[in-house]
Amino acid sequence: MSERTEKYYDMAISLSKFYGGKIQVIPKVPVRSLDDFSIWYTPGVAGVSNTIAKDPDKSFELTSRWNTIAIITNGTRVLGLGNIGPEAALPVMEGKAMIFKYLGGVDAFPLVVRAKTKEEVADVAERVSPAFGGINLEDIAQPDCFYLLDRLRETLDIPVWHDDQLGTAAATLAGLVNALKVVGKKLSDVKIVMFGAGAANIAGARLIMAAGGDPKKIILIDSKGALYSEREDMDKLQLVHPWKYELALKTNGEKVAGGLDEAIVGADVLIAASTPGPGVVKKEQVKKMAKDAIVFAEANPVPEIWPWEAKEAGARIVATGRSDFPNQINNSLVFPAVFRGTLDVRAKKILDEMVITAALELAKFAEERGLSEEYIIPTMEEWEVYPRVATAVGLKAIEMGLARIKLSKDEIYDRAYKMIRLSRDTLATLVKNNLISPVPAE
């Protein structure tokens, strides 16, 4: 562990203790006197309950449900830490909730559950869904995470998201679309090697294909090598990992066997979402790629190959998961905005088409500011990107008939802009007035 990482560990532990966690519930109504309780609580509240009992969808108007989501995890794959259990996952979910609020104005509630099986997690999500306008699945091991997203998309009528799949995949697609514009290649023409077949790349492959990528020219590589329809373990995959099995059938038209050395020959794009580097992807491998190669090395904290190494080996555009290098493939660009947009139109689902819309809007935002080899995707500092992406997603939900309410483009944008602005201003005001203590000096 680097010295810098260690410093952040120490700060996070002492400050978590100082603040007693990272989020709290604050009323959103004034309490002028205790008489107001007759409005906010009994007897007045019974009138609200009666109204909702007649029409459950009214819960989106008369309660906080419209802006509240659950962050659900069983703690089976937390960050790079593995299966550390629900309690240990809680600080991560609190952090996620804080980001949801700060970047998206979304009230997110961390719900860590003790659940052994995927069915138990699904059951919890289904049973708590009446309290929420959406569900964000987080840090759940594969292949259970695929089962959960598929099942809950089907059974629930609120948006369901799994960030390790969709967030990273959408940011990757956005970066890829722009990188291809910079080098002047077309998505449907390029050969794409996806190194690592975890949640991000499996969802990434699905989105890239849906966005126009040629399945035959995509090769996924897992720990056993390149996926293809005749690989020895196909029968086992069909039983235990049907998502990977389907991709093995669709992709790798040339049936390239072997590993990255074999697959990368002549590839235009490498998307590595595997294990932390450096040296997981080697310079010699990048050298075998086509001219104007695009390399995404997304592992954290250390990318599969250092950006300068990839460039020395001939890559023209390099992206990583880190904020201290150009082109950060960052899921925090996506999830706050996607939920902002879907919540504002009270969407019933987040389907892949909406995720692609989010990715393309993200790409368009960067394009309008001027693409270059060092700028293919917006940064978190450009916060106007959030209402923009929220608007695109909200409109897409309306177009697909998945929205409970129909708003115009301007209405969605204004709402999203105000919600995010309000969230930031509220926090700034609380800090300014010392209602949230300043960070103590070391």
Binding site: S229, E230, E232, M234, D235, K236, Q238, L239, V240, Y245, A248, L249
Partner: protein, 158 residues
Amino acid sequence: MTNSVSIRAAKNEDLERMVDLVSRLKRLNGEFDPLLTPVDDLENEVTKYLQGMMKDSNSVVLVLEDGGKVQGVLTAKLVDRCFYKPRLVGQIADVYLMPEYRRRSMGYKLIAEAEKLLKSRGAEMIFAEFPAKNVIAEGFYRKMGFREITEIFAKETQ
């Protein structure tokens, strides 16, 4: 690829590929139950087994071929049940299709062809055996009108 698919009797030159396919099937069975773990020299045993089947006049060995390459295999044999009527029945022993040839009705065509051949040799019933936990196989046979008639229970000796 569909137009060029044909089902025919196996030939000696198909052996190597058939060994691969039948070995894959036996390995798949091993995924369902530790008591179906394949032997270490599986390919060798499968080779001998298939050679025996191909010589045996009471056996049926079919392959599904596409563009000159074997992509599926079926083996079956005539069995005299001696105690039950009908006595002469066809036992389907192995059915395996490469993944790209699944869910395209080709398995049904293979079974139908085997059924026809077994019937022409006097079989009045056909049956198949597969791992109890293989729900994909169970669904496949049920769809074609098969149903369970016996159960095989197993335990390791103590």
